[in-house]
């Protein structure tokens, strides 16, 4: 691997030693067979570029699902000293707080197998998907500002869910210090109609069941008994977050010049965390983070209603409760111990999941003996995983792990590959019912277009960043 400058640390960790303008090394969690894809994509070079940014601590990290992104790679984790470091919208991504919620019910697989089509139809009807999907009503600016401050609690206050839901969300579904005044009129306009909507692209709703349990104690704590019916929600902050990112990329481009920050790639545009621009971005980003929390809470509530309507049972007889919710695209101020010293850091996770160890005060009381659930969805035909964070993740990766399978084919390659095939029928043959607003979406998102998530999960488990708890298999999937 010397041709691309990668040095083996162990079978699942590779390093580009600090050289040239790099302040720290870049470290990539991957198996040997994954490295060819990663280097072909030049994603490792992006990880090395991030290592040049001011105030970066320890190393620029990449998870095994790393792939090329705008500036920062997707699957990247980078922590910056709060006094000397920078914050970058490119290190968070366009879909701020894109994330995953896992819910589990008291139903068993056999309870829904015969009505899965009805259930998907009810979910498809109740939860708008696809482009510009909206609930048909516009939120007033003052409601949106309240939502941006309160996050998921905004939805719960309106009867969409319970206080118990909030307990099981990262950050309890609300980041403090959100600043609506830092958000542009355009972002408010784009966000006005999109609460309670799934969006498009790789966003989805998936009804599944617990197919394998690897850690009985942890699974019991999370209510993931064998065969239990689950619901996974993957979506983010919609047009509101996209606009916040877009707005601040311009601001940071100017700020980087103003603060004389040398950038190896213009898309790494950033500003010192302590600067006016840095603080404004963080305040606007937190509004988008809270928007995504509220969005998933509203969707979770509508999903409960749809389950009840399809199965003709009151929600209490379905018992669909939140197991956990994680954010994938976020920057957070966190305390970590680095080289034996307590440090306050701004941790950027772009296409990466927080994976805190047992006993962390940041995770729900109920999970403190098990560790924070780490939710890793796969493609719609295979399986997804539930893992938990470890002490090793705390000491090596700022309490972070991977976030998904990652694409193997571009969208056009996938479409070419899907030509002449009936993807819905193929999936039905694998006992997975799929719905989408557009046939092309199914082609782009078909299982073969993605890597096998089991390979990604194997790396984070073998590297000691996570422990496996359970595997879920899909019964039905709605694509945005």
């Amino acid at each position: 691997m010397s041709d691309v400058g990668l040095k083996k640390i162990h079978d699942f960790l590779w390093e580009i030693p600090a050289n040239g303008a790099m302040r720290v090394p870049a470290r990539i969690y991957a198996s040997r067979k994954m490295l060819a894809d990663i280097t072909a994509d030049n994603a490792h070079r992006q990880a090395a570029n991030v290592a040049q940014l001011p105030g970066i601590v320890c190393a620029s990290l990449a998870m095994p699902d790393i792939h090329w992104g705008y500036g920062f790679p997707i699957g990247g984790v980078a922590a910056f000293d709060i006094d000397e470091g920078i914050v970058s919208p490119g290190g968070v991504g366009y879909d701020i707080n894109c994330g995953v919620r896992l819910m589990a019910s008291i139903l068993k697989r056999s309870d829904i197998e015969n009505v899965i089509s009805d259930l998907l139809a009810a979910l498809f009807s109740a939860i708008p998907t696809g482009i510009g999907s909206s609930v048909g009503m516009k939120l007033a600016r003052k409601d949106l500002e309240s939502l941006a401050r309160k996050g998921a609690a905004w939805a719960v206050e309106r009867g969409m869910g319970t206080q118990e839901d909030l307990e099981f969300l990262e950050e309890r579904g609300c980041m403090a210090d959100a600043g609506p005044d830092a958000v542009s009129d355009r972002a408010w306009e784009r966000g006005a109609c999109q609460i309670g909507t799934l969006g498009s692209g790789n966003h989805f709703l998936e009804v599944g069941y617990v197919s394998d349990v690897y850690d009985e104690r942890a699974a019991r704590i999370m209510g993931l008994d064998a065969d239990a019916v689950t619901l996974t929600i993957h979506c983010g902050s919609r047009g509101f977050g996209h606009q916040v990112c877009d707005d601040y990329l311009g601001v940071m481009d100017r700020a980087a010049r103003r603060y004389n920050i040398a950038l190896p790639d213009r898309q790494l545009a950033c500003a010192p965390i302590r600067s006016e621009e840095g603080q404004q971005y963080l305040r606007a980003m937190r509004c988008a983070v809270n928007y995504a929390f509220a969005n998933r809470q509203a969707i979770a509530h509508m999903a409960r209603m749809a389950f009840s309507a399809a199965l003709r049972r009151p929600p209490a007889d379905i018992g669909l409760r939140t197991v956990y919710e994680v954010a994938h695209n976020i920057a957070k101020i966190e305390n970590h111990t680095v080289d034996g010293r307590a440090r306050r850091l701004c941790v950027h996770r772009k296409g990466a999941t927080r994976a805190f160890a047992p006993c962390s005060g940041e995770i729900p009381q109920a999970y403190r003996s098990a560790g924070q659930p780490v939710l890793i969805p796969g493609d719609m035909g295979r399986y997804s995983y539930v893992l938990v964070g470890t002490e090793r993740a705390m000491s090596e990766s700022f309490g972070s792990a991977c976030h998904g399978a990652g694409r193997r084919m571009s969208r056009q390659q996938a479409l070419k590959n899907a030509r002449g095939r009936d993807i819905a029928r193929e999936l039905a043959g694998r006992n997975v019912v799929v719905m989408a607003g557009d046939r092309r979406t199914l082609g782009e998102e078909m299982p073969d277009a993605y890597k096998d998530v089991a390979d990604v999960v194997e790396v984070v488990v073998q590297a000691g960043l996570c422990r496996p708890v359970a595997r879920l298999r899909p019964l039905g999937c709605i694509k945005g």
Partner: protein
Amino acid sequence: MIRGERTFIRDLVSEKSPRWENVPRMSCPGRMRLSAGAQERLASSAARPIADAWCIAGRLEDSCMDRKPPWLELLDPTADVGLRVRAPALKTLFARAAWGMFFLLTDVRAVRPVDTRTVHVEADDRAALLVKWLSELNFIHQVERRVFCRFVITEMSSRSLIAEVSGEPLTSATNVHMEIKAVTYHGLSVRRESGIWKAEVVFDV
């Protein structure tokens, strides 16, 4: 619209919680295809036609990707999409880039020029102007839920552009293929080579 759906939607954004009894109940048979009669009934009764979703069952064939004009190429970054456009003049280049974006978003040839509006954008340089122009159209598309098919650039300098754009509102019958989160600066270029204007732009989807 199915009985109860309006109440459900209204309650969602008001102080009340939607009640599960109000969720419209879709009656779908257990297989992948609905009968023609059932599709018709559902299509006529649902605000969100479930029948549309069932249409995804079937072979993926003549993708509109095959019917693109000769001056348009699709770029192929792994997770996103991009365009390469050629034109004899700069104004045409910008108009074609906009058409190309709506070619990705919808069946642009089926969009009717029902009404026309003026769009004005400014930027620091020509490449940034292309990003601003496409971002503005994407913003109108998402916020006002409209699609466009005709783009006439009436005035243009390297830092500003005024255009007349024509299109129509989105309806439940409009086929929208994807959502563009943002028009990016990655690999962005607007240049003239051997008398031909060329532009490349990548969208985050």
